[in-house]
């Protein structure tokens, strides 16, 4: 597959603060990368650096072999960037705004009209075509921003918190749309805190913290990245037991113990026999267990396993 994005040794500084010390990323056509991490991890900064919107102290970014530099429209116009706060002209109507974008990207007039019809349909905005943007809800504005981003048919799509303002039905629709964009051969990066969604449509996941990529790989690699034979267990007690901590602490092989009232979670072997023995031992120890369940491997678990403390 052809390489769409190649970012090498990207360093971004805000005065004396280093937001991205050394960021590398390569994406091919058909890759959909989900960027996750706490606030201030550098997700938005990395997206803006890739889009050439902020100066880099070091490094280079190439899109389809073209260097991203200020004024290089050949590279910049291949990037579609939807920031978390949607920029728009509130006094314009939806269709006028999209026509304006079509002009700015030199999309022909007929093609612009066709694409406006298509994307408004895809993003459930057809009935709002002649509405002024200021009359749209936050979710609608978010969808309009996605339409604006996709209208020029970019090769690389950068979406920063695109689903933040969407209702549940909108999110389902949005997931499907991202999947079809991925399948059509575009390279996409989506920064989001909705990990369950990312798990569903991403091909790759990048976990960022402190401006660094802590983990990067396919979704399967990230989910099963640590100790594949271990798993998180959720236990609920019928009542609080003060000795629970001491009892669980004695058990060999049990780690990352966390007790919050009647809720207990810990990591233990991912094996039915071992789980049965553990349950028997806990019951024998006098714990009034109301619920005992291993939690399946998912992105959320993988993220929590990284030990990144700040959670939004």
């Amino acid at each position: 597959m052809s390489i769409v994005l190649a970012a090498e040794h990207v360093r971004v500084e805000y005065g004396s603060f280093v937001a991205l010390p050394d960021f590398d990323l390569t994406l091919s056509a058909g890759n959909l990368l989900g960027l996750i991490g706490p606030n201030g991890a550098g997700k938005t900064t990395s997206l803006k650096a890739i889009a050439g919107l902020i100066p880099m102290a070091a490094g280079r970014v190439n899109v389809l072999g073209e260097r991203v530099t200020p004024g290089n429209t050949a590279a910049l116009s291949r990037i579609g960037f939807a920031p978390d706060t949607p920029p728009s002209y509130d006094e314009m109507t939806v269709e006028d705004f999209l026509r304006f974008i079509g002009r700015a990207y030199r999309v022909g007039r007929e093609m612009t009209e066709e694409r406006i019809d298509y994307w408004l349909e895809q993003l459930w905005l057809s009935d709002r075509r002649t509405s002024k943007i200021k009359a749209l809800s936050r979710g609608m504005k978010q969808r309009l921003t996605v339409a604006r981003t996709l209208l020029p048919d970019p090769a690389l799509v950068l979406l920063d918190e695109p689903a933040a303002g969407l209702d549940p039905a909108g999110r389902v629709q949005f997931r499907k749309m991202l999947g079809s964009l991925r399948d059509s051969g575009k390279a996409l990066i989506v920064s989001s805190h909705i990990l369950a969604d990312l798990h569903e449509y991403c091909t790759h996941i990048g976990i960022m913290e402190g401006g660094k990529m802590r983990q990067f790989g396919t979704v399967a690699q990230i989910v099963h990245s640590q100790e594949e034979n271990r798993c998180l267990y959720d236990v609920t007690l019928a009542r609080m037991v003060p000795e629970a901590h001491a009892l669980l602490g004695e058990i060999t092989g049990l780690s990352k113990l966390d007790i919050q009232g009647r809720q207990i979670s810990f990591e233990f072997e991912h094996d039915d026999e071992a789980a049965a023995q553990l349950l028997a031992r806990l019951l024998a120890g006098g714990l009034p267990i109301a619920r005992f369940a291993p939690v399946d491997h998912d992105l959320e678990q993988a993220y929590l396993r990284t030990g990144i403390k700040q959670v939004d």
Partner: protein
């Protein structure tokens, strides 16, 4: 389907739509024309019986030219400022920057889109003024400035100048700064004729408009032969084009220097050309408001040196910034393979060559009367001292800027501090010391080395009859330059 757009530029079209498109523009123009007609009719009917239609039309023409100036300068520039400010506050500027639009297209869009209603109103004003000047019997030939068509062409050049300057300033300051204030101040200075102190500046501000208006009031005719209109229009258009190119560069990203590289040198060369031409084109007729001192060649050449030195800072600052950024990037970026930029010292030399070379080339043999006679200096010596001071001040500033850029300091305050500390303070201190020690003879006695240690003081001493130790002052300046260059060479980042 929207109406077929006349403005093909994307930003221009977008801004036009935001202002309500054709419907609102034509409605506004119609309402304005109707209101103007009704007001003129009512005013004429209210006039005394002895006021003839011709006199009334002449007075109304004066009023509409004032209105037209206000529309172009106040409303037009503010519309551009607001449009750019809105794009920054809504972050639409990022959306534009990611599109296929070049900087030139974007800058042109900001010039044409927000000002479309001003253009429509100007068209109405042109029709009104044509009718009024016909009634007043003022429609003359091509050379008659009172003829509305030529007057509107002249005002159009002024508008292009003001609007391109506003576009540049707004893109440089994220839409925070309006240039209207500067134009109001220049308008007042022009009216008071104090602006002739700096002939090059007088050439680019619409001082001829003031004269034309005065001639309208006095029922005399100002003609293109009286006033250097064509030179002024060329100056405005040339500067507008430079501002436009700079705005196109600045649009691409906030950290991109507007006048980097050859464009900075072009600006200096153009300003030097205008400064030189200004000496031969501005009127030399002192008036009540403009005493002889404003037309004094010695004062004018000092003011020209100061102004050119200030403009010359732009390419020098860009060269020092490029050098500092290169060093910083080289230290941090393993992939960085850009060639080292030329030293800022070279930039200083090129800038001085352009600024003063062009100035003296244009002045030709006319330079001699601009330097007052001195007992201890011949003319060429005076010029050599002035040029040396010019070089030293740019080298000093370049050195300090190199240090500041290496440390990531904002240079705005540094420049202000430098001008106060190195240009103004020594002269002020010299006068203060004299006032304290010998107040009676302050205006008669010569100045000390403290005075000429400021480049401005040295230019004053060389160009006017003031007695002051020029060589010693130059030595002090050279000492400061060596210090600043030493600091710059020690900077490693």
């Amino acid at each position: 389907m929207a109406a077929e757009p006349i403005i093909l530029n994307p930003i221009g079209w977008g801004q036009f739509r935001l202002l309500g498109g054709w419907k609102r523009t034509l409605g506004l123009a119609g309402a304005y024309a109707g209101a103007a007609f009704v007001i003129l009719l009512l005013l004429y009917r209210a006039m005394r019986a002895d006021v003839t239609l011709q006199r009334f039309a002449s007075g109304a023409l004066f009023f509409f030219i004032l209105i037209q100036t206000a529309i172009l300068v106040f409303i037009g520039t503010n519309a551009i400022k607001r449009a750019i400010q809105r794009d920054f506050t809504t972050d639409m500027i990022s959306s534009h920057r990611l599109s296929a639009m070049s900087g030139y297209t974007a800058a042109l869009g900001y010039l044409t889109g927000p000002t479309c209603q001003c253009v429509a109103l100007s068209f109405v004003n042109w029709i009104i003024c044509t009718i009024l000047s016909g009634i007043a019997g003022l429609t003359g030939g091509f050379s008659d400035l009172v003829g509305p068509s030529l007057m509107f062409v002249v005002m159009g050049c002024m508008a292009i100048f003001a609007w391109s300057f506003q576009t540049l300033m707004a893109l440089c300051t994220r839409g925070r700064i309006s240039v209207v204030g500067a134009f109001v101040v220049l308008g007042f200075l022009s009216n008071l004729e104090t602006v002739w102190t700096l002939p090059g500046l007088a050439l680019v501000i619409p001082s001829y408009l003031v004269r034309t208006l005065s001639s309208l009031q006095s029922s005399t005719r100002a003609t293109a032969q009286d006033i250097p209109v064509l030179t002024s229009m060329f100056a405005q258009l040339a500067l507008s084009f430079t501002f436009f190119l700079a705005a196109a560069r600045k649009y691409t990203r906030d950290d991109v220097a507007a006048f980097a590289g050859p464009l900075g040198y072009c600006l200096v060369a153009l300003c030097a050309l205008l400064a030189g031409v200004g000496f031969s084109r501005v009127p030399q007729t002192p008036s009540f408001f403009a005493p002889r001192i404003f037309y004094n060649g010695n004062v004018q050449i000092v003011a020209t040196f100061v102004a050119l030195a200030m403009i010359s800072v732009i390419p020098v600052a860009n060269a020092t910034r490029a050098s500092a950024e290169w060093a910083r990037r080289k230290a941090k970026d393993p992939l960085f393979d850009k060639r080292r930029p030329r030293s800022f010292v070279e930039s200083v030399l090129v800038t001085v060559l352009l600024a003063l070379g062009i100035l003296f080339l244009v002045l030709g043999k006319e330079w001699r009367p601009l330097f007052a006679d001195h007992d201890d200096m011949v003319g060429r010596e005076q010029v050599a001292y002035c040029v040396t001071a010019f070089v030293l001040t740019l080298l000093t500033l370049g050195g300090f800027l190199r240090v500041a850029y290496a440390g990531g300091t904002k240079i705005g305050w540094l420049l202000v501090l430098y001008v106060i500390a190195a240009w103004c303070l020594p002269m002020f201190a010299d006068f203060s010391l004299d006032a304290l020690t010998n107040p009676a003879a302050i205006t008669e006695s010569g100045r000390s080395m403290l005075f000429t240690s400021s480049p401005v003081g040295l230019w004053v001493a060389c160009c006017t009859e003031l007695e002051a130790p020029v060589v010693q002052g130059l030595l002090v300046q050279a000492g400061i330059t060596v210090l600043s260059l030493a600091l710059a060479s020690r900077t490693r980042r």
